[in-house]
């Protein structure tokens, strides 16, 4: 794990702690590729992971102390001991209220400090991404680009990116555990948060507010990349989608535009301008199909087109009447859209 200057905070850098966590991890057999809040990739989550370790060790201390007292009683206060009838009010008041008060006030101070840090919005000219929650996928728009994409946010490494959050239907919650805690998407209102990744890479995010049948499959990926790649990515959003090159791709495009697909989906530069489902202009490059339901490969894509209800039951895309000849062409075309 890379430690950046901003991540180097007042608190103990948890090296031995990491080891303790690792042993916990091994106990549960956790793999290293969790979107874990304890493996932060950016300023926001780093702060909270620091806060967590502070809270964790305080809790361990309190737990051990109380258990020690209880165990002592269990061992030494049975059998032939004499009951003592004293009323140690002062002990109860100090141990039960006084000490906790001191600890809690201290912790509260740290917590408030972190809250203030999380609340600092990025500068006026920070890149801005608009995220709109739909049941059950994420629409993504970049300030200054006309194109629309879905379920994938690209951000420049090391920069604080503003994220505006709206929802098209019910409540959702925008959560990238490795980068930033949750911000809910509130129907009829706008919310803001920010993202900042300190190292390049992909960070999985997922809807964290129950939003109905397919709440489980409403994931997205934050891709942190160097500024140049980011600019190129945003630039591509203004251009038409990649044109088909092979015959199969051309026939696939035709089937897409003339068939039922175009009623709901858009592809830039074609006549397909449906607004119900996600824009598919770059679908071939996306990390998954169905907002994290299945990997993005030809086989899964075919299955999705034919009947997405078997993959993600209850989603709004009905099974498609695509013939056996057309399906490979559609797949070829969609996979070519990168």
């Amino acid at each position: 794990m890379q430690t950046t200057p901003s991540a180097n905070r007042r608190r103990v850098r948890p090296r031995p702690v990491g080891a303790a966590l690792l042993s916990l991890c091994l106990l549960t057999g956790c793999a290293g590729d969790s979107p874990s809040a304890l493996n932060p990739g950016g300023a926001g989550a780093t702060r909270i992971s620091g806060l967590w370790w502070l809270l964790f060790w305080i809790s361990v201390a309190v737990f051990v102390e109380v258990m020690a007292l209880m165990t002592w009683a269990l061992v030494f206060r049975r059998g032939a001991v004499r009951v003592r009838h004293s009323q140690p009010m002062r002990f109860v008041a100090v141990a039960g209220a006084g000490l906790p008060f001191v600890i809690l006030v201290t912790v509260y101070g740290f917590g408030l400090h972190d809250l203030a840090a999380l609340g600092k919005s990025p500068g006026r000219d920070a890149p801005t991404i608009e995220v709109i929650g739909h049941r059950w996928w994420w629409e993504v728009r970049y300030q200054g680009a006309s194109g629309v994409t879905a379920n994938e946010l690209h951000i420049p490494v090391g920069e604080r990116v503003r994220v505006r959050l709206r929802t098209d239907d019910v409540l959702h919650s925008f959560w990238v555990p490795q980068l930033m805690p949750k911000t809910d998407l509130i129907a009829g209102q706008e919310r803001q948060t920010w993202l900042q990744a300190e190292r390049a890479g992909s960070y999985r995010g997922q809807c964290a507010e129950y939003c109905g049948t397919q709440h489980a499959h409403m994931a997205f990926m934050v891709v942190a990349e160097p500024r140049a790649d980011f600019d190129a990515w945003v630039g591509r959003l203004d251009a038409p989608a990649r044109a088909p090159e092979t015959d199969a791709e051309r026939r696939g495009q035709q089937a897409f535009v003339q068939g039922t697909c175009a009623a709901c989906h858009s592809i830039r530069g074609t006549d397909a301008q449906g607004k119900v489902g996600p824009d598919l202009s770059d679908v071939g490059s996306r990390w998954s199909i169905g907002a994290g339901a299945v990997p993005n490969d030809p086989g899964h894509l075919g299955g999705w087109i034919a009947n997405s209800q078997t993959v993600k039951p209850g989603n709004y895309m009905p099974p498609q009447p695509v013939s056996a000849d057309q399906l490979p062409e559609l797949i070829a075309y969609l996979q070519s859209l990168k």
Partner: protein, 639 residues
Amino acid sequence: MSTTTGKPPGASQEELSRLEEHWGERPSLRAWFSTVDHKKIGRRYIVTAALFFLFAGISALLMRTQLATPESGILSPQEYNQLFTMHGTSMIFLFATPMFFGLGNFLVPLMIGSRDMAFPRLNAFGYWVFLFAGLFMWVSVPFGSAPSAGWFNYAPLTNLKFEPGLAIDVYNLGLLFLGISTTVGAINFIVTALKLRAPGMSLNRVPLFVWAIVATSFMVVFALPALNLDNLLLFLDRRFDTHFFDPSAGGNVLLWQHLFWIFGHPDVYIIVMPGLGIVSAVLPAFTRRGVVAYPLVVLAIVSISILSFGVWAHHMFATGLPQLSYSFFSAASTIITIPSGIQFFAWLSTMALGRLVIKVPLLFLIGFLVTFLIGGLTGAMFALTAFDQQVTDSYFVVAHFHYVLLGGAVFPMLAGLYYWLPKVTGRMYHEGLGRWAFWLVLAGMQLTFFPMHLYGLFGMPRRVYTYRGDLGWDAGNLIATIGAYVLATGLLLVLIGVVHAIRRGRPAPNDPWGGDTLEWTTASPPESYNFPVLPQVHSLHPTWDERTAESTGARASQDRILSEGRRTLFTSELDARYERAVEMAESSLIPLVLAFWLLIFFISMLFSWWLVAGVAAAAVVVTMGVWLWPSRRPAERAG
């Protein structure tokens, strides 16, 4: 019925038979439906709540089975979503509170030295409404239209546009219906504890369990209206096109959350507080001394019930409220852990100063201390807004509140179950069976919920019907599922233990534990009139106190035997000075009839049969009129 009562020295045989004549009921079908005996009603509450616990528990097992492996297809998402909704809703509304109301019903009059609750018929009515409302909600499950928007039922997911059909209306109307039961039950507890305490039981001699039940009831009285209003508003939005939660016409979806949590956070304490009361009630018998620092514990109980109204927004830390309100609610949520700390150290000190008698109830108390402590520690973490935003709505919060609720409510309940089983059934339980049950429940609990902390931190959101296998969540989930089955086995052993005790258990003496509160001076199970002589209380631990014992024996007086009718005593609210004897209500079918008309009313509201609803509403009013029609009896009747 009773097993060990000889002739109590205080009341003569003739007086006892007169008491039995006034209070006893010959078993008949009519008597079964019309009884107002608080002990029978209490038992019914307990059995019915246990039934809903079983339903909700089976839902949980099904969910855990689905989640045992990634991308498993045992349940469809719709089924899973209905199950987690019914699991949460039932555990909170149909199990936890009614179970404690049942225990309270059975125990409060016994603990305060009374012969019944203040409003016996209202008590029966409350039970019938609870039963009907619970069935009203669960019947939706076989019809496949159970609510599926979670127990907190957030708008706008629950608006008609996103949830057509009757499922959400079942939730709204079911909870409104149930709210009647909870409200009247709470009022009944408060008035009972204020007016029906035995003479001499001034406020500083009231058992901690009774304090806890009364504080809980006060929270119900002031918190439940917020939930009722919320459900009413949503029902109006769905049925009559109003716009309370409709942002396109000026409504606001966050209003639902505010109202819900203004109720919901006190409700956490409504659930846990009686559990803490049980801890304080059970501990003295197994440490052979009273709970340390009684005044501080009472202070803690009272301050929790007040503070709990000031922390609701910590359930909304991710909704983007203003920063300033975050700091306030964060501070309040931090402070509210302190009264729990006081109680915790009071119990620990009690253990450290007393002499421990290791029996199953004490084992469950130890399980409580361990589990609730962990839940409390993670709870304090949630008070910090920044941390909360990271782990709320993840499995970390699922772990947290199960530690709080199983730890703070179920473990004490089980401790109480074993503790009071001899009093309720007149039979002793099997100690070995009880110990097995304890270890399985404890191990199952930790195994199920501890891993959830971890995979919550590893990024798994709650309320997902499945998850992918490549995210490092699978091992923890598998362990949790195994734990759930262990826990279920332990609870099954509890059930077997209860059945075994009732069938085969050896007869229980009046006071098998040497408890300190008045219920242990009654027969096991108690006579229909509870106390042959209502005691004169002289201390906080009346059963351990010679003078109180004398007051029902050698110093018994006619004005506390009261065998001339179905009578008990009113005492003054604060000092419990003797006021007068009162005639209590006799058994009646009217509570059942009224609950039945309410059931018809709510069913017809559900199906929009407005005419039937109107008729039922009129019937409700008429029934109430008949119920409360003043009698010409000489003595005033309560209820």
